[in-house]
Symmetry: C2
Subunit: 188 residues, 2 copies
Amino acid sequence: MGTAERLIEATRELLRERGYVGTSPRAVQRRSGVGQGSMYHHFDGKPALALAAVRRSAGQLRAAAEADPGGEGSAAERVRAYLRRERSVLRGCRIGGLARAPDVVADPELRRPLEETFDRLRGRIAAVLREGRERGEFTASLDPAATAATIVAVVQGGYVLARSAASPDPFRQAVEGLIALLDAHTTA
Amino acid sequence: MGTAERLIEATRELLRERGYVGTSPRAVQRRSGVGQGSMYHHFDGKPALALAAVRRSAGQLRAAAEADPGGEGSAAERVRAYLRRERSVLRGCRIGGLARAPDVVADPELRRPLEETFDRLRGRIAAVLREGRERGEFTASLDPAATAATIVAVVQGGYVLARSAASPDPFRQAVEGLIALLDAHTTA
DNA sequence: GTCTATAGTTGGATAGAC
DNA sequence: GTCTATCCAACTATAGAC
């Protein structure tokens, strides 16, 4: 694994564990085993390091999102599969977790991957819902875009509840509650 | 306003603006106008300061939660009122925002107010839903506890989406999507 | 109770040798 | 490309005077 590679991976780990503010270039050096001079040779500083890490995480999340509801089954089944997908609930979302950091939100370049990721995710889910509605799987009253936002919000909010409770239970509960609500819109 | 009072309020502001890691005793001193020695006379250090601030915020959120769905109207109306309540969406939730900080989650004393707040909030909403179901407002298939978790998660997740987009729109959308889903369970 | 002084550590980065 | 040296500000707190 190349040097830049190791730096990016170490930064991704630290961003997830300690957040943006809690992640220091020093810690990245220790975690990656890369020296000071070497690190600053490859990256300008903390924001540059974070940008590379965030871009990679965003790319991976996007890829996973496009793979997942791309599977077979009815639209409702695909949404359920997305909601019940295995997640390390207590560690939280690599992308959503950064939305709390003022430095991230204030920097347009750092914030953009967050916005794009959630935009695409909502768009992807909305497309599945729309398709399902057109096939008569859902009642006509279901609003694909709004419902997609709800679905993504439940996942992100589930992380918050789970961490607050130090247990994945509230996450699961929120997800199952949503699935039950969606079922009422299903005409199968 | 007393000295301790000013310290707590300054800490609450900073916790919201900068998070736990980003909030330093120094900044609290500057914001509150209280000197170094004075601050350490009243509070042991950063965790003690944060604990006092978090407890107060938790108490206020709890009070608001008990006042809000205690209003008149059907259960569905009360839930809608809660979901549409005015919020400073881009600033995020004082309590939920802290769930990202490892230092908060790792400290049982600091985490407890978060857990309690969300437990009570879910309990309160579940009670409203249960009442509504018993009065025949909702279909029998509606699970009060799970649905309450979903409702709270949508709000918390809405904050995340809004901050990522630097716009309150995704929050509103997620909330309206949820309301539409709930309507399908309403027998009115 | 409040103030000033002090102190060790980390953060975030630059400079220049190799 | 990588290493070591160096830098200054901020963090978090303690000590002791008033």
